[in-house]
Amino acid sequence: MLEAIGAKELADLVKVPDDVALRAQLELSPPLSESEIASKFSALAARNDALGYANFLGAGVYRHYVPPVIGALAMRGEFLTAYTPYQAEVSQGYLQAIYEWQTYICLLTGMDLANASVYDGATALAEGAIMAVNATGRQALLVSKAVHPNYRAVLKTYCDGLEVEIDELDYLASGTTDFSNLNERLAAGKYAAVIVQSPNFFGAIDSFPKDAAGAVKIGVVAEPLSLAVLRAPRDWGCDICVGEAQSFGVAAAYGGPHVGFIACTKEHMRRIPGRLVGRTVDNAGRNAYVLTLQAREQHIRRERATSNICTNQAHCALIATMYLAAMGATGLRDCALENLQRAQSARTTMLDVAGVSGRFSGATFNEFVVRVPGRASEALAALQRKHVLGGLDLGRFYPELDDCILTAATELTTQDDIDALQNGLRAVVPTLRKKELAAAR
């Protein structure tokens, strides 16, 4: 091969100027055989003790049952090792699957169209907000405090770059967004969008007021399983619906990859970021699928593109599509009802413990907030010693809610889990109450 190239040695081909030649010693572990790699990672996996615990963590990532057929289909090498389907003639399968994903998202959200995915729920929100900024030419957003704090933090990161201002809407005793004076605030024409999540970060089912007008309405869905039973976001007022579809068969995987979606009304079609698959015909008139409206995208329009996104989360979107196909309407609805039932059971069981109380009055899906005496962080740490992850300390994001725990229950939450949580609270709460009383004196 070197002879064909006209090189003497391999080293000649990769030579760089002396001033940038490698001098440093690379500090990497010595190479391992495949069996040694398997041992190493198995040992590391075993150090993640959390899996042995009764787990009530949700807050944007939900444990759901995934039928094994999903993994078997998704891991097919044709799907796994393909690139973005630029060459439509040899990518019809993947293109059709993405077209099906776009359709599923539309059917669940009630929107007119959806894109081929973005990185995750938070970046979907940021990109959706940019759509609204571009649509209105306004440089401010009005965001509910009950939107996931991580999503709001990412929104802020993006907005710092674009010099877009963010104002907040407070929450009510119901746990839903406080919309008093909304139309007056919107009437001034300052805001590009008003942003609400449902079920929101507190688990409460939220929505826009019926008469809300004067800005693009962006709805966020972080637990899309809820859409099996809840009103479609289009029906509660959304112009743009963004969210996270991890719940549809995608692993928690310590935070990713997950899969964000953006859906919108026709009006916003040319502002949507990322890939879009369209149905058309080939030169013999046969049905065919192809990446379309690419004039929006970075590889064509460069600095005038709607977004810089190139790689998306196609494989996670594929998994979600397979999950929705396998579950069907019946399976998805049954799953949602299991969630409602077990969350209700977990909530009732927790509230049975003397000293534990509710915090918000609004209707919830599979996640809810309870209040404990003293600090939630202490209660959770004590529960953890009893092998229970009771939920998320809301004080981490809301200083005024530092006595509150956000708890999720899904179809994978067992009666044993719920019993362990109740027993844990029974053991932990009296001590916390005593402490609180002592502190009060």
């Binding site: 091969m1 090189a7 000649d12 990769v14 690379l26 990497l28 572990s29 391992l32 790699i37 990672f41 198995s42 590391l44 996996a45 993640n48 963590l57 944007g60 289909l73 097919r76 090498g77 044709e78 090792t81 690139y83 389907p85 040899v90 019809q92 059709q96 359709t103 669940l108 959806a114 995750d120 940019i130 990161t157 770059g161 995987a253 310590y254 935070g255 990713g256 990859p257 369209g278 058309t280 192809v290 379309t292 004039a295 600095e303 810089n308 190139c310 790689t311 998306n312 996670c316 594929l318 397979m322 396998a326 579950m327 069907g328 019946t330 399976g331 799953c335 949602a336 209707a363 992850l389």
Partner: protein, 486 residues
Amino acid sequence: MPQLAELLETPLIFEQGQPGRANRYLPHHDEGADAYLPRDVLRAELPLPDNTELDVTRHFTRLSQLTFGIDVGFYPLGSCTMKYNPRINDAMANLPGLRDLHPFAPDELAQGALAIMWELERSLSSLFGMAAFSLNPAAGAHGELAALLISKAYFRKRGETARKTVIVPDTAHGTNPASAAMVGYKVISLESDKRGRVDPDVLRKVVGPETAVCMMTNPNTLGLFEDRITEIAEIVHAAGGLMYYDGANANALMGNARPGDMGFDLMHLNLHKTFSIPHGGGGAGAGPLGVAKHLVDFLPVPVVRERDGVFSLDFNVPSTIGPMRSFWSNFAHMVRALAYVCANGAEGLTRVSQLAVLNANYIRAKIRDVIDVPYDEWCRHEFVASAQTLKRETGVRALDIAKALLDRGYMAPTIYFPLLVPECLMIEPTETESKETLDAFIAVFRDIIARAHDDPQEILAAPQHTVVGRVDETRAAREPNLRWVR
């Protein structure tokens, strides 16, 4: 005989199934959701199809058969580094202790995951000569965006708010200018010289007190090493700007040279290219962001810390730009990337880039007599050919060659990029292909060019042996049909 296309045309999942033909994955509920929730928040109907597991299995198996991946055949897609994706990496990512770990699990119960992130971060920092890496960004473009946000925060902190321009060579990926626009920077495009490289004298003319960042890909998208990189970095630094390294082509120099030693202040890697992570039909990827010492305080949060062998997530980075995404990283890909690093070690990774360069040069040397190779010198991991002369002589364009390759069982190279080469074909074989595979590809490529001269109609009509022929893209864009409607 029916055509293969007719045999395989697959109805949409929405055109299949019957109501109630459901799989028993979960206990059935006769009660409605109104047993738990007020009616005014509930939907009236859920219009999704019910399909048996067998029908779902056949549906997606067929769709997979209509999809071309690396596992199917040679995939010389330039700039995308379509190397073999070892299955051990997926197996490790799918270990339940890693796959099912909740991102809000307390640090003390996630030590294994944090150890993986830590070791990968340290390995990347050493391999590329940076002070630290953030594993936060979800893809290459996302890493670019994070880097430019860091530059903005850095200059803001220094009171240098006049720095509003980003310099991007005309060979750059489209994501570079698009990312710059997302932080409100103005883009200055830099014309390449006759050698296909950035000319320091041209750069000097556009650099000034308004320069924020110069974004470079090295080797660039022509597959050429920017050999005056030190001088370029000095010019930008002297003007107070920052140097950004687009790591899309890191497979060409990994283990042989380091961006940190070339004067780059910021860089991203596409782990899904260089570190053998499957592209999955366009993602998920991973775009870790590396920074030099003076920028570590601006990294996105969280950052993994180690103290006495105990790992933790640190959200309190002093001048952080904030988080770039919902959760900490595309962790499953961090597992895959570290497994790849472990399989190769430093010597192995060095060998990877050398063999990638060898394979690209071999194809170049074996086809340069039948097609234009505009920058005809030793290339790095990829090179560009041009069908300009062929088009003039035969009417056959780069697009037609691409389609003819599909007919012969090969994925097409990247075409019409970079933009400065007309009728461009960008070929990147990667290191994992054998000489036999390269020889077979070369023979087919030469045969296509020969046929283009003999009987161009045959090539212009390609592909003929794929499930559909050339697709009507104009109609797709003019009458957008983006979803199924009953």
